[in-house]
Amino acid sequence: MNTSELKRLARRSQGPAAGAAAARFLERASAAGLVDVAYGFADSPFGPLLVAMSKRGVVRLAYPNEAADEVLDDLASQVSPRVLESLGATDQVRRELDEYFEGRRRSFSVPADFALSRGFSRRILERTARIPFGDVATYAQMAEAAGSPRAARAAGNALGSNPIPIVVPCHRVVHSDGGLGGYTGGSERKVVLLRLEGALDEGAARPRSPGGPRH
């Protein structure tokens, strides 16, 4: 016997067994309530979306242009390092996103967790979450609703760093002059989402009746 014999045996012990053990570990960790942030990927017209659930709700949604590693590092340092990938824990939100993109869902039943936002930004995002499907509001209206009527630009910045796009519909906030305004990862996404919701006519560059009553 020599020691290389031990190493040869060790190499043979690799393979699917550790992966299967890790999958069972995830089940036990979830059952024990030890997963603080569960994440998964949902299909979308923009590519795979990373969606993360805290124990309170959807805490993060990231478009494919954001590096998943950085998004997860961020969650680990700002929410909890107990971050695990879980199909089960993200099943409902992924299904609701599917339905939304297929035009079969107008609102999300999964609550939003605003843990990554503070102060003024958080107030703006909480208000934004209430803009109904098919409607739009202006940056100035959002600023006013958050108690700072002159802070339209700051409202724009808060919406630009929305950690939960789509679920918190920052795409429904536009300029008072009818311009669409910016959007995370490009305004084409904003156009796609507003068209999907019927808030923007086919071919139109401007939303119908920004902020005003519709119908």
Partner: protein, 163 residues
């Protein structure tokens, strides 16, 4: 910075599994693997920094393996492990390691501390400093455990070959 637990799990699950299969065998390895990573997950938010996570998790695994070794020693060996026989999932996958391999059996027959030291040194390819750290001993004791373990293995395997 502490990496997301998923990153930590992906990075070290093979090393932990390999270590456990070598020390406690494929049947016990499964339970020890769960115990090791559950203990790590519980303690994880209390970690101050993310350096030396490999040593940290292998230290936990070493403790779990030695505990399992003590449990097994208290069990009568002639009675098969009921759980492993009745668990349908256990039979679903072919064993990645041939548990009947005489060298493997000899490794598992070593006293727990010699076995842990030998596996850390040669299966996981770790330095004596790291072996000592994982086992909470001096480097000298780590060398001694490895030396005694290897000596015993050579005797075992040689006597097998002459049978």
């Amino acid at each position: 910075m502490i990496p997301p637990f998923q990153t930590f799990l992906d990075e070290y699950r093979e090393a932990v599994y390999r270590y456990l299969v070598a020390t406690v065998g494929p049947t016990e390895a499964e339970d020890c693997f769960q115990d090791t990573f559950l203990a790590a997950l519980r303690a994880y938010p209390k970690l101050r920094h993310g350096s030396n996570l490999k040593s940290w998790v292998l230290t936990i695994a070493t403790r779990k393996a030695i505990d399992a070794g003590r449990r097994a020693a208290r069990r009568p060996t002639s009675i098969p492990d009921v759980e492993s026989v009745s668990d349908p999932a256990a039979g679903a996958e072919p064993d990645p390691v041939d548990p009947a391999d005489p060298l493997w059996e000899a490794v598992r027959g070593l006293p727990p501390r010699q076995r842990a030291a030998v596996v850390h040194r040669f299966v996981l390819d770790r330095s004596y400093v790291e072996v000592a750290e994982a086992m909470g001993t001096t480097e000298e004791t780590a060398r001694q455990n490895v030396h005694l373990g290897l000596k015993k293995l050579r005797e075992e395997v040689t006597s097998h070959e002459h049978e």
